[in-house]
Amino acid sequence: MSHIVSHEPILMKFPGTNWDEEAGALVVPTAQAVAIATWLRDNDAFSLDYCSNVTGVDYLEREIKEKITNKEGKMETVARTEPSRMDVVYHLYSMQKQTGPLVFKQRTNREQPEVESLTPVWRSCELQEREVFDLFGVNFKGHPDQRRILMWDEFEGHPMRKDYTEPFDYEWEPTPHDEILEKHQRGKVIV
């Protein structure tokens, strides 16, 4: 496996960023995103000149049960509710140094998702950011040509959101298949 990119120097250089240990990703405030990205790309130590994957992740309001040892050293589960948020994840690689992925995240809220577009830094983000805009509804400031890419332009709603409900299927036709689907929905919930 190409060796992993060390993230400590970034944390020192840009105090605004912090390291999300559980996901192994560098969380970057959207204000400094373009500056950090350009520095990562042009700096000789990193030279992360290849942004392989850009995608969005939608986190709903959920409460997580964690086993923590409280004061008496006993294991007990504490329920912690996590606020809803929307992530845009970038996987950065270096083709010159052939070094491994640096996961680079921008966080924003779910109601008005607004994130800095990194297309000026890496051209490979252009179509993928359009896809995140189309399927998640995240608005990319500074994107040269932000349009829907997979859905048709008059489509409302963003299908990949967790709380997306399907519109009425006006092209529905009676098929034996849909009896089976109804019977599925009625009794058994797919585990």
Partner: protein
Amino acid sequence: MSILGGGVFKGMVVTLRNFVGSYFYKDRLTTNDYSWRPNDKLPQRAGDYPKEEGEQLRDTTTVTNYSRNFPMLLHDGGEPMDTVRCVACQICERECPPQCIYIEKSTEKKENASGKPQFYPATFDIDVSVCMSCQICVEVCPFDAIVMNSQFELSTPNRFGGLLLRRDDLLKSNDYYHRIHPEEAAARDQRIADEKAAKQAKKMAAAEAAKNKAEEKARAEAEANKDTADAEKDAE
């Protein structure tokens, strides 16, 4: 090539060689000629089979004995419903990616091949127009009740009900399975036989363990009453 148009001539030599070759080497022609006898029409409707169930009229060289198309339910010969293997546990219905299987469990139990009363599927529909022959149901089935058939001529003029195969269309005998997929069927039967043998051996081992435990207990009691008997003798 230095001479003008040399590359073009080399290319034309290749096509000439292929043109001549296709008359001599038969393996160059990949398009195999399906049977052209008009009355040898491909069997169109699912129920449109000769008595030999599931047999395809055409030479099955075009369908190798590894290809999989749509699932079928297995029964161990004789009257299909008496020896059906499926116990309607509905794991395959839950795991099926396009959700094209629908099972309704029977209310009362019935004897199955090995004599144990067992549930059986009252209805077992597979919507063949939705099934994508991915063989996930065969993998997740713990009872080897569902396997893949290689029958692909299922086109029917009736658009709605025609492609919904009911339980009776799906039921096929185990030796039909041996006929279309010899290797896989043999391997599967071998595995079932091994498991049964292993279970048998385990049961016998458990039985022996239980038996000799019982003997020891009996022997221990025997000694115990012997001791008590000696003790009473000493006491007198």
